[in-house]
């Protein structure tokens, strides 16, 4: 790639690097002050801003031998923008913190910026600014800012009788992770799904418009994240396995690794699909597949998630510090 910068971050220096990085970022018309000042200024229609932050740490969230800098940039931006999507909003701005060793090749940082820029461009978000610091491990912090033009959809709000629906692909990143963990690089489609999620960015605002009662993006694991909606809403949720079509690549990975492919779907995270609850009878466009139903929770059962009416026996999701 043509970068115009060669050497390590230490050779290039902070100011040269910042200049080269910011050259990659498109500023859209809502940006009043972009990178290069003390802070950025952006207009937010409606006088309301939606915001979320995500951290990616080398060897925790990505590995340099599994993912390219371009991949990591896509993933870092996608994670934060998915949180805005999960509120029924659209990301309009990103601010990025990068901690990195001085020995890191400047080209890596520029490719990272390129990945962030490309992902931001998918929804028309501007990269507004950032901060650089030396650090022993590459650490990326992305804060997304956005707007909810069709109202805010929270985790709380699911009602007994609602349907539970999913938009986006689910289980692919987990299958890719399983493949990479065994030292393989194929099927390529699932490995790529691990490297670069493909959040359904249109589906979040669409769900808000359709009157979704609650919504979440799946980052930790499908059943675990559905549990957050159930708990916040004080309901129980049942998921029906028959609702899922198990895509061919997931079947192939399951067969190759001797694993039940439904496990990738039910417990996998990192695909950043959306799960939303809608009043029964809501006409759902083809992006959405009904996968379950919201139930009245018995005493002490708020937050319970069952699969086909029964507890699902599998390690679900992960807790970062456990």
């Amino acid at each position: 790639m043509m970068h115009g910068l060669t050497g390590t971050l230490g050779n290039v220096g902070e100011f040269g690097l910042i200049e080269a990085l910011t050259a990659r970022f498109t500023q859209h018309s809502d940006v009043q002050v972009g990178p290069g000042d003390d802070a950025a200024v952006m207009s937010v229609p409606g006088g309301q801003v939606v915001t979320s932050i995500d951290l990616l740490v080398q060897n925790r969230h990505f590995r340099l031998d599994w993912s390219s800098a371009l991949d990591v940039g896509h993933k870092a931006a996608a994670e934060s923008m998915s949180d805005i999507n999960a509120m029924g909003g659209r990301a309009t701005g990103l601010v990025v913190g990068l901690g990195a060793p001085a020995e890191l090749d400047a080209a890596w940082a520029l490719d990272l910026a390129q990945g962030i820029a490309e992902e931001a461009d998918l929804v028309g978000a501007s990269v507004l600014g950032g901060d650089l610091s030396r650090a022993d491990a590459i650490t990326i912090s992305v804060t997304a800012l956005g707007v909810c033009e069709h109202g805010v959809v929270r985790r709380v709000g699911a009602q007994p009788g609602d349907v539970v629906a999913l938009a986006g692909r689910q289980g692919w990143a987990e299958a890719g992770f399983a493949v990479l963990g065994r030292g393989f690089r194929s099927p390529r489609v699932v490995v790529d799904a691990h490297r670069r999620p493909a959040p359904p960015y249109d589906a979040g605002p669409q769900a808000a418009q359709l009157g979704a009662t609650a919504m979440i993006d799946v980052s930790d694991g499908l059943l675990q994240d559905i549990g957050h909606v159930a708990k916040a809403s004080g309901v129980a949720i049942d998921v029906q396995q028959a609702a899922f079509e198990v895509a061919e690549p997931l079947q192939a990975v399951g067969a190759a690794l001797g694993q039940e492919p439904m496990r990738f779907i039910l417990t996998g995270g990192d695909d950043y699909c959306l799960v939303a609850t809608f009043p029964a009878g809501t006409g759902l466009p083809s992006e959405w597949t009904v996968i379950g139903s919201v139930l009245e929770a018995g005493d002490g059962e708020e937050g319970a998630v069952t699969v086909d009416g029964e507890a699902y026996e599998s390690p679900g999701g992960h807790q970062h510090f456990v």
Copy 2:
């Protein structure tokens, strides 16, 4: 201190920790959705949001043997909120990323949150949310969001003939850093200034109201940061040493370490004072001290900063990756 949580982050687990952390944060009336959902939602009067991010990395920006967790929390919040101050705005919300080893005492993380909360309370900002990750070194990312009720003041805009004025203390953190670097812990006032900056949060919006033509906060070094204003504005700036009253603690540190105390003032950063340019004749309140003047730049001299009309011979500021 009373925390209600004991043990390491690894013992406590992510969800217990998040609950204990968020209990420390006040949510003000502009917060529509606070911590605990996919993203936070905050109203911003005027439909305009100002934002900036800062990273703090253990052993780069703070040392555990020099600063308490409470100190680091104050500093992390202050750095980001100072950027909003430097635009003439007021911080209204913070989002925080924390990377930390599983072995870290949970009490440290709670004290960090307490420090962030206390600093945010100084300006009435809400801590809207955050993200946690395991990391080998403690890494803190704070994104500040805010509003500019009296207009935006940028780095660009200084005009030949303007006066240059400073609000807040300057050189104290650098003196404290010099003291700590020699293994001393006194004078306590400068050591404390290094541990917890005291940005003049009222002076930023005040400068905007007074019609400041340009502004910056001093994080890297006074002359270096003034140089950013001069460069962005296409002017030269001269600083007059006689304008500064060298506070007694700086004199004491200078004498003890055999250093010229004016060096702390001219090259020190990390106090987060403000430097602004105002049209000559602007009536400046007592918060502001005139320290120099804006000059027409000769060819190729845009961005030049002189002291008493001459180049200042000292290493100025720092570049993180050099």
